[in-house]
C-alpha cells in the first residue's frame, strides 16, 4: 500500500474564491445526475452480463420448446389458421419485456440494503427522482434489446416478421407495458423490507401472470373463469395487438381482443396500457416521496 504525499499539498480544502463549479441550470444538473446513475447500471450490466444472457436465453427456450411442443396441433385450431409458433411469438415477446421490467426494483433494493442509496441521498441531487429515472431508462433500454433479440430469433425460426411500421408499433406497446411494470417493481422495492421479499413477489407474480394471459393459448380455449382473468390481465392487452401485427392486418380501429366483457380495438388496448402505466406511476409517487425525502 502506498503512503500519502508530503503534507501541505494545497489541494484538499475549498479553493480560494471561486466555487468548485459555475452555477448551471437545473435541467443540466438533473440530466448530469440521471445519466451518471444510468451509466452505473450499464457498467454493472457490462461486467456482469449474466442477467442479460439469461434474459435473452429464457424466452428463446420458451420459444423453441413451447413452439415444438404444440407444433403438431391440428390446423385450424388457432384463430385464422395461425401456426402455434407464430401464435406463441407475440406471447413470448411480451413476457420477456414483462419479466425484465419486473426485476427493475432489484438493483434499487440492493442499494437500499447495502447502504449505497444513502451515498446518493447525502449528495445534493437536483431531484431525487433521478434515482428512479435512471432505473426506468436502464430497464427500458434493456427490455427493448431483449425484445429485439426475440423478435429477430422468432423471424429466423419462421414465426414471422412484423415489418418496419409493425416493429415500431410493437416497441411502443412494449414501452407502455415496461413503464407500468417498472413503476410497480420500483414501488415494491421501496415498500418491501428486503430483497428476499421482493424476489418472492417476483417469483409468485411471474408465471401465474403468464399462464393467466393469452400468451400460450387464446381465450376461447379457457374455462370461463380463466378467460375472465386473462381478459383482465395487463399482459393480454399487450399480447393481442402484437399478435394482430404479426398476423399482418393491424389497424388501431380493428378489434384485437374478444373478451367476455366485450370486444376491444387495438387503440383501446393501447389506451388501457397507457392508463395503467400512468396510474402506477401516480400510485407509487407518494411512496417514493416518503422514502426519498
Amino acid at each position: 500500500m502506498t503512503t500519502t504525499s508530503a503534507p501541505a499539498t494545497p489541494t484538499l480544502a475549498p479553493a480560494p474564491g471561486a466555487p468548485a463549479s459555475a452555477p448551471r441550470s437545473a435541467l443540466s444538473e438533473l440530466s448530469q445526475e440521471t445519466l451518471a446513475l444510468t451509466r452505473r447500471l450499464f457498467l454493472q450490466l457490462a461486467r456482469r452480463p449474466s442477467t442479460l444472457v439469461a434474459g435473452v436465453l429464457q424466452p428463446l427456450i420458451w420459444l423453441v420448446l413451447f413452439g415444438a411442443l404444440f407444433a403438431k396441433a391440428p390446423e385450424g385450431l388457432l384463430p385464422e389458421g395461425m401456426s402455434y409458433g407464430r401464435f406463441l411469438g407475440a406471447g413470448v415477446i411480451v413476457f420477456t419485456a414483462f419479466s425484465g421490467a419486473l426485476n427493475a426494483g432489484l438493483p434499487v433494493m440492493f442499494d437500499r440494503e447495502f447502504g449505497f442509496l444513502n451515498r446518493l441521498l447525502v449528495a445534493p441531487l437536483r431531484s431525487r427522482s433521478s434515482i428512479v429515472m435512471a432505473s426506468v431508462l436502464y430497464i427500458t433500454s434493456l427490455s427493448l434489446v431483449q425484445s429485439l433479440a426475440i423478435i429477430a430469433t422468432a423471424a429466423l425460426l419462421g414465426y414471422g416478421w412484423p415489418g418496419g411500421a409493425g416493429l415500431l408499433l410493437v416497441l411502443v406497446i412494449l414501452l407502455l407495458l415496461v413503464f407500468a411494470v417498472t413503476a410497480m417493481s420500483l414501488g415494491l422495492a421501496f415498500a418491501l423490507p428486503g430483497h428476499i421479499e421482493l424476489i418472492a413477489v417476483i417469483f409468485v407474480a411471474n408465471l401465474p401472470l403468464l399462464f393467466a394471459s393469452t400468451a400460450l393459448a387464446p381465450i376461447s380455449f379457457m374455462p370461463t373463469w380463466l378467460g375472465w382473468l386473462a381478459a383482465l390481465n395487463p399482459l393480454t392487452f399487450a399480447i393481442e395487438p402484437i399478435r394482430a401485427v404479426y398476423a399482418g392486418h393491424f389497424s388501431l380501429g380493428e378489434v384485437v381482443l374478444v373478451a367476455p366483457y366485450g370486444s376491444l380495438t387495438g387503440a383501446a388496448c393501447l389506451g388501457v396500457l397507457a392508463v395503467l402505466a400512468l396510474g402506477l406511476f401516480l400510485l407509487i409517487r407518494p411512496l417514493l416521496d416518503r422514502k426519498l425525502t
Binding site: 503534507p7 484538499l12 480544502a13 463549479s21
Partner: protein, 355 residues
C-alpha cells in the same frame, strides 16, 4: 481564508459552523423504542478539528446522520454553515462531505468510476471532476489501484476512497463517522495526516470515534457523548486539567494479596494530598491513586519506606480523556463498550439505516 469561506457565511469569526440544539431522536415506538439522542447540544467552531467521543451506542452515528440530512430529528434545531438543515437540506448537502461508517461501495465499479459518479452527483463539470480525482488520488496515495475494481480493495483502501469521495466537491465541512475503525496503522496514520492537513487549510472537520487516543491526538476540541447527550465538551487540555491531580498506579509487590493491598490503602488514604485510593482487583491488587501534585508522590515513597513496605512499581500520569469520561459517567469507556456490546441488535440497526 475569509474569501474562500465567504461563499457560505459572512459572520464574524469564530462562530459555530455546526450547531445542534436540543436534538432528540427515538427509533421505534412503544416499549421497544430506543432513545438515540435526548436533547443533544453541540457547537463546532469554524476551522476546527472536532472530535465526538463516546462508546458504541452513545448516539454518535445518529448525530452525524442527522447532520448529513439522512435522518430527521424528532425535535430540536440543526444548523450547518448558518443554514437550517431541516428547511434547506439540499444547500446543506452542498456544504458537507459525509464519510459514513460502513462504507457502501459498488464492488463492480472501479474506484475512479465511483468517484466519477460521485462528482456527477455533486454536479462538478467534467474537467474539474477529473482534475480533482487526480489530485485526491495523489494526496491519498490511490493512483496505483484506483482503476481496479472496488471489490478487490482492502479496508484501508476503501476508507481512503470514501474519504476522497467525501472531499471531491471541496466541502467546507467534512463529517466522518469512525473513519479509522478497524484500519491498519499505516492507513490510520495516512487518514490522520489528511484530516490535520484539511483543518490547516480551513476545512471544519467533525469526526466521531470511540478511540480515546485518536481524539486526544487529533482533535482541537471534543465533546464526550453518552446516552444520547453531551456530557462534557472543550479542548482536551481543558477537560483534563479540569479534573486536576495526577494519576498514580502503585504496586508494592509484583503480586500482592488483598490484606496487604487494603493495609496500604489505609496508610495512603491518610496522607495529605491524596484524594482517592482504589484497589484494582483485576490487576493483581495494584492501587490507583489520584494525587494533588508531583510532591505528593515523594511523600508517598517516604511513608511506604517508614512502614517497611517495598515499591515494586510506581507509575505517574496526567489525567487522560478516559478519566474525564470516568468522572462524568462513573465508568470507563472500556466498561461502557463491554456493557453495550451484548445489547446491540445489528439487524435493527441496519433497518434504521435503510430508507
Amino acid at each position: 481564508m475569509g474569501l474562500r469561506l465567504a461563499k457560505w457565511s459572512s459572520k464574524a469569526v469564530p462562530e459555530a459552523v455546526i450547531e445542534l440544539n436540543q436534538v432528540s431522536k427515538r427509533y421505534g415506538s412503544g416499549a421497544t423504542a430506543i432513545e438515540a439522542l435526548s436533547g443533544l447540544n453541540l457547537s463546532v467552531p469554524r476551522g476546527c478539528l472536532y472530535g465526538l467521543l463516546g462508546p458504541n451506542g452513545a448516539g454518535k452515528t445518529t448525530c452525524l446522520r442527522i447532520l448529513s440530512t439522512l435522518l430527521e430529528p424528532d425535535s430540536g434545531a440543526v444548523r450547518v454553515g448558518g443554514l437550517d438543515a431541516l428547511a434547506q437540506p439540499r444547500q446543506v448537502r452542498e456544504l458537507l462531505g459525509y464519510v459514513a461508517q460502513d462504507v457502501a461501495i459498488d464492488k463492480i465499479l472501479s474506484g475512479r468510476e465511483l468517484l466519477q459518479l460521485q462528482g456527477d452527483l455533486y454536479h462538478l463539470n467534467r474537467a474539474e471532476r477529473d482534475r480533482r480525482i487526480e489530485e485526491l488520488s495523489e494526496v491519498l496515495g490511490m493512483d496505483v489501484w484506483l482503476d481496479r475494481r472496488c471489490g478487490t480493495y482492502s479496508g484501508g483502501m476503501r476508507r481512503r476512497l470514501d474519504l476522497a469521495s467525501g472531499l471531491l466537491h471541496r466541502p467546507a465541512v467534512l463529517v466522518l463517522d469512525e473513519p479509522t475503525v478497524g484500519l491498519d496503522i499505516e492507513s490510520r496514520a495516512a487518514i490522520w495526516r489528511v484530516l490535520a492537513q484539511l483543518r490547516d487549510q480551513g476545512t471544519t472537520v467533525l469526526l466521531s470515534s470511540h478511540y480515546l487516543e485518536e481524539v486526544d491526538a487529533l482533535a482541537d476540541e471534543l465533546a464526550i457523548i453518552d446516552g444520547g447527550r453531551v456530557i462534557a465538551a472543550g479542548t482536551p487540555q481543558v477537560l483534563k486539567a479540569a479534573l486536576g491531580g495526577d494519576r498514580v498506579t502503585l504496586r508494592v509487590r509484583e503480586f500482592s494479596d488483598e490484606p496487604e493491598a487494603l493495609r496500604v490503602q489505609l496508610l495512603l488514604q491518610a496522607c495529605a494530598g491524596v484524594r482517592q485510593v482504589v484497589v484494582n482487583r483485576s490487576q493483581g491488587f495494584s492501587l490507583n491513586l489520584v494525587v494533588e501534585h508531583d510532591g505528593v508522590v515523594e511523600q508517598l515513597r517516604q511513608q511506604l519506606k517508614q512502614a517497611d513496605l517495598p515499591v515494586f512499581a510506581l507509575a505517574q500520569s496526567k489525567p487522560s480523556l478516559d478519566d474525564v469520561y470516568l468522572q462524568a459517567t462513573g465508568r470507563t469507556l472500556m466498561d461502557a463498550e463491554l456493557a453495550i456490546a451484548g445489547q446491540r441488535d445489528p439487524k435493527a440497526e441496519r433497518k434504521q439505516a435503510m430508507r
